[in-house]
């Protein structure tokens, strides 16, 4: 394909954080005019590698070569000037300022020392035209959808000479058409000789648009493959270090029939603009999986049926009685609890101790006057720490110092301490190492066996299939279908989640 010298070459990259080794002697190369994917599980070292390439982190060892010359980027700005640009998932642009300005700010065309707005607009029009974006360059960035904002971010990155373009999870919030658009832009850039680093966990997309794949695991380079030569199953094996088939959690007790009355029943649930006309039944003892792309409306669905967001339409029945919970406090009193996907910003109160975090919801339920006595708090905290194996088992430690997996357990303890009937978990295993992931998945199964209704939302399709009895597919704000898990495979689920139209079963 394209041999010769790589445009960007990293040899022996090593990065340590204290005693921990994030990257261990990793080699990486990128050729101009290719689309290259970086793959690996969470914690494999992908983001560390990107930070090393883009100057956001210094390396302890290793040599970086760009265009044959050894370079050292002290700051991201150095990398940008050298032509290495990154478009992150969180749009790093300015929503309050026009599209044209976002593209141009930092290197605006000037006349007599003042900004030449006419040339700015022209420049922006050119860039937008190249991307095929039909938007008004004078409009504020914030009025546009995330997909458009992302393309504008790419526009900014390519508006001056770019050699390497790093795209970090670019398709997570895009629908099918938007993904096609993005891929068209990527292919155009390829033809221009730009080297593109495409970081994504969507295997299908990687196979569709990338030429080569580099797999990292535990900070080490596992291999570099041509996408046309490597099988999916081998790629997954390289990422996980074991075959996917061996990853089954323990079998769940056979779930009963459909005749049992659902504990929570939602019909026609609509919250504008996130979720529309959704029907959900949560039964005792069942794990109800929810799968969909990010931004499809899964969290909106969860927040709608747990009463956290006000419904614009729809009816919720709990134990047969119609209810209208107006917020988490009401929902909790009805036995319905919700665990947010943003564990750090909407879950853990990091300044409070583990004990205080665990007893928080219970205390809130009892009201502010009836304080839970200290001995009882300690009793509760200790029993949950033991039951969920929270480490370190120190209840007076600030909860913010715990690792992601243990924080998630603290959150679960908090919710379970309320003795709920319905447990809605939004991305509970995100950003957690594999060991803790399996613990939590097993726990969910145990809870269902004990009679709880669990709604389990996850972007990892394998996980949803492993844990759920039935799976609801959410796309563009609607529940497209609800299917028993045995009838699905990862690929068929992926098809339902990513594509519009008639793919069924």
């Amino acid at each position: 394909m394209h041999e010769g010298t790589p445009l960007l070459e990293l040899t022996g990259a090593t990065v340590r954080f204290g005693a921990e080794v994030a990257l261990d002697g990793v080699d990486f190369r990128l050729f101009s005019g290719e689309v290259h994917s970086l793959m690996g599980e969470n914690g494999a070292g992908k983001s560390t590698l990107i930070k090393a390439i883009t100057g956001a982190l210094p390396m302890d060892a290793g040599v970086l070569r760009l265009d044959g010359e050894t370079v050292q980027f002290g700051t991201p700005h150095d990398a940008q000037t050298a032509g290495v640009r990154t478009v992150y998932q969180e749009i790093d642009l300015l929503p309050n300022v026009s599209v044209a300005e976002n593209i141009v700010l930092g290197r605006e065309p000037r006349r007599f020392g003042l900004i030449d707005w006419r040339r700015t607009r022209e420049l922006a029009c050119t860039v937008l035209g190249e991307l095929g974006l039909d938007i008004d360059p004078a409009s504020k960035l914030g009025v546009h959808s995330l997909a458009v904002q992302q393309l504008v971010a790419i526009g900014r990155a390519i508006s001056t000479d770019v050699k390497v373009l790093v795209l970090d999870e670019p398709t997570s919030s895009l629908d099918f058409d938007e993904v096609s658009e993005l891929f068209r832009v990527i292919r155009d850039l390829k033809l221009r000789g730009v080297a593109i680093l495409f970081v994504s966990h969507f295997l299908d997309q990687v196979y569709e648009v990338c030429d080569r794949v580099t797999v990292l695991r535990d900070g080490r380079l596992i291999g570099e493959y041509l996408t046309r030569e490597v099988l999916r199953i081998d790629l997954v094996q390289a990422m996980l270090g074991r075959s996917a088939a061996a990853l089954h959690t323990r079998a769940r007790a056979d779930f009963g029939d459909d005749a049992t009355e659902p504990y929570l029943s939602a019909r026609g649930v609509t919250v504008n603009p996130g979720i529309e006309d959704a029907d959900v039944d949560l039964r005792e003892g069942e794990v109800f999986g929810v799968a969909g792309l990010l931004g499809a409306g899964r969290t909106e669905l969860a927040r709608a049926i747990t009463g956290i967001d006000r419904l614009d339409a729809g009816i919720i029945r709990i134990s047969g009685t119609r209810q209208s919970p107006r917020g988490p406090h009401d929902a909790i009193s009805l036995g319905v609890v919700y665990s947010s996907e943003n564990r750090r910003t909407e879950g853990i109160v990091d300044g409070l101790s583990v004990r205080e975090n665990v007893t928080l919801a219970l205390q809130a339920e009892r009201g502010m006057l009836r304080r839970i006595p200290s001995w009882r708090q300690q009793e509760l905290a200790a029993s949950w720490i033991e039951a969920l194996d929270i480490r370190p088992p120190d209840m007076d430690r600030p909860a913010g110092t715990l690792s992601g997996g243990n924080q998630q357990k603290v959150l679960l303890a908090r919710l379970l301490a309320l003795s709920p009937r319905v447990l809605v978990l939004d991305e509970p295993t995100r950003g957690i190492d594999v060991g803790a992931k399996v613990e939590i998945q097993n726990l969910v199964g145990d809870l269902a066996d004990n009679g709880l209704s669990v709604m389990f939302i996850s972007a990892e399709l394998e996980e949803v299939l492993r844990v759920g009895n039935r799976v609801a597919i959410v796309r563009d704000g609607c529940i497209v279908d609800t299917v028993p898990a045995e009838q699905l495979t990862v690929d068929s689920l992926l098809a339902l989640v990513a594509r519009p139209g008639d793919a069924d079963g």
Partner: protein, 339 residues
């Protein structure tokens, strides 16, 4: 999506034009509301008094509020970055009394005026450094500036000092007349500051960086903009405006007085917010702040016309401020829900 070389111009139906306008200039809405209010005030006052909208009254409006206008321009810079400057009233008093003292001691005005401005700039620099390099919240840092400036004012003098210097007095007593309209040099200075403010905010990278910081400081940094220097400079600018306002006020009252400007920072913030600048930063216009100052000035003038107590001014400004904030909040809440 079709590929085009130029984005197509939107259709010219009224709804589409409104949509385009809003997507480009939604942040001008609060300022527009301020203009409407000013208009209503003028109309109402004219109807009530019959002789309110005369050239001499309107000229007096600028004359009496020149100091506030200067302060408001500086404050706009600070607030658009998402910060706040509580020291402006005290800085105005300090530079005023400092100037008066130096003039009384015999220094020529040509030396004293730059010193006044430098004094304001130094305090602004202190605040800016605290905010940017020591992570102090702007509220606390400018609070320290407030205390410092007020204290320094009293160190200079405990009582008022008259200004006899002809150069300074000229700034206020001269009137350039065009028919019944007149303007003083201080008025010209104030308007000049406004023009410079507009120019900088809309046509320089520095000004655009200010909006960027207000929009998302992290993004601005990642875009390679010099966030640190800009953040410090806006406080210096506010300090410079404080110094100029001190000059204007001293010329206006013919004396420096250490107790000047108590509460003026609040009036300034109110004028800027009423003029359409969001306290959260990222949007706002210098011209809007000028409208806000005119609103403030008109209310004060109307109240003095009515012979009512001046305490009503503060109450009305407070209520207006409240109205603006509630409406701003509702608009923000609605656009957040729509996302």
């Amino acid at each position: 999506m079709t590929r085009t070389d130029k984005p197509t111009r939107p259709q010219t139906s009224l709804a589409a034009r409104y949509g385009t306008f809003m997507s480009r200039h939604s942040s001008i809405l609060p300022t527009f509301a301020a203009v409407v209010i000013l208009f209503l005030l003028f109309a109402g006052a004219q109807l009530y008094f019959g002789n309110f909208l005369t050239p001499s009254n309107l000229s007096a409006l600028l004359l009496n509020n020149a100091y506030l206008l200067i302060l408001a321009v500086g404050m706009t810079f600070v607030i658009v970055t998402g910060g706040i400057d509580l020291s402006v009233g005290s800085v105005m008093a300090f530079t005023g009394i400092l100037g008066a003292k130096l003039l009384a001691d015999g220094l020529p005005a040509v030396l004293v005026i730059p010193l006044m401005i430098a004094g304001g700039a130094l305090i602004g620099l202190l605040i800016g450094v605290l905010v940017q390099y020591f992570d102090v919240q702007p509220f606390i840092a400018s609070l320290a500036g407030l205390f410092l400036a007020r204290g320094l004012a009293f160190v200079v003098s405990l009582s008022s000092i008259r200004v006899e210097d002809p150069a300074v007095l000229w700034l206020q007593s001269t009137r350039f007349r065009v028919g019944d309209w007149y303007i003083t040099p201080t008025g010209i200075i104030a308007l000049l500051i406004v023009v410079i403010g507009v120019l900088v905010m809309q046509w320089t990278r520095f000004g655009r960086t200010i909006y960027a910081i207000g929009g998302s400081e992290q993004s601005a940094h990642l875009m390679g903009l010099n966030v640190a220097r800009t953040k410090v400079l806006v406080y210096v600018i506010s300090g410079v405006c404080g110094g100029l306002a001190g000059l204007a006020l001293t010329a206006y009252s013919g004396a420096g007085y250490p107790l000047n400007g108590v509460g003026t920072e609040l009036d300034t913030i109110a004028a800027v917010v009423i003029g359409g600048t969001l306290l959260t930063g990222g949007s706002g216009y210098v011209l809007g702040s000028m409208i806000g100052v005119l609103v403030y000035g008109t209310i004060t003038a109307v109240i003095s016309f009515m012979g009512a107590e001046q305490s009503w001014t503060r109450i009305i400004i407070g209520t207006l401020l409240l109205l603006f904030i509630v409406v701003q909040r509702l608009i923000v809440a609605r656009s957040e829900r729509r996302k």
